[in-house]
């Protein structure tokens, strides 16, 4: 999955709306992407 696609998965991740493969790929991405970590934290506060 390319990085731009991964950046766009924050909301789906916060809603647990990713299938297992997408979730794994996104979590791997999340470990190295501060921008997405902040975004997920903000969105998770609302979910």
């Amino acid at each position: 999955m390319d990085p731009e696609t991964l950046h766009g998965l924050t909301a789906a991740y916060a809603l647990d709306a990713l299938d297992p493969e997408e979730r794994d790929a996104f979590e791997e991405h999340l470990a190295g992407c501060e921008r997405c970590r902040v975004e997920v934290a903000e969105l998770a506060g609302a979910a």
Partner: protein, 199 residues
């Protein structure tokens, strides 16, 4: 002997104690969040036994994972309910019990062993979230409810609603950002807007 009293500690402090294998701390977290967790799991799973399984699994994950909780990243309550929700969604997908309609109002606060005070608090919290959801544009609300409470993945939603995946992603993002604004009040600084959508 009465249990050690941790009522004066913040959630984050209680999680920190849980990370040191303090069973009293885990019990305290359960007292604080067990009922909310069950309400959330029941709403997704619509089955009391499965909801109890999800809560039990989640508290096991809290026990094992407390040392990995990072307070700078999320409130402890958010972290706990995220773990509960993920287990509930995993279970609902496994059981294929997903439904399109959200539970009717009132189902979650009926019955159970919580005190009147807990129930009143839960009802207020639930009403607050429902009121915020009701203020979202219909399509955003639909995407969020079906994903969060229905357990649908974004790909399933795109297929079922006959919309491109990118559209579903945009609705979920915009809806969640708006919900956050409604629940927390305005954010400091620049308005928070979606930055990037692909696919």
């Amino acid at each position: 002997m009465p249990r050690r009293d941790l009522a004066h500690l913040s959630d984050e402090a209680v999680v920190a104690l849980t990370a040191r294998s303090d069973e009293v701390a885990l019990a305290e977290l359960y007292d604080r969040y067990g009922r909310v967790a069950y309400g959330l799991a029941l709403r997704v799973l619509r089955d009391e036994a499965l909801a109890e399984d999800a809560v039990q699994d989640a508290f096991l994950a809290i026990w094992r994972g407390a040392s990995r909780f990072i307070p700078e990243r999320a409130k402890a309550s958010t972290w706990i309910l995220t773990l509960v929700h993920r287990r509930a969604v995993d279970l609902v997908r496994r059981e294929q019990r997903r439904r399109v309609e959200p539970l009717p109002e009132g189902d979650l606060v009926a019955g159970g062993g919580a005190s009147a005070e807990d129930t009143a608090w839960l009802r207020l919290e639930r009403e607050r979230v429902q009121a915020a959801l009701a203020r979202l544009p219909d399509q955003q609300r639909e995407a969020i409810e079906l994903a969060y409470y229905g357990g649908f993945t974004q790909s399933e939603l795109a297929e079922r609603l006959g919309e491109p995946l990118g559209t579903i992603k945009s609705r979920m993002f915009a809806g969640l950002a708006k919900l956050r604004e409604l629940l927390d009040g305005p954010l400091d600084g620049d308005p928070w807007t979606p930055r990037h959508f692909t696919g």
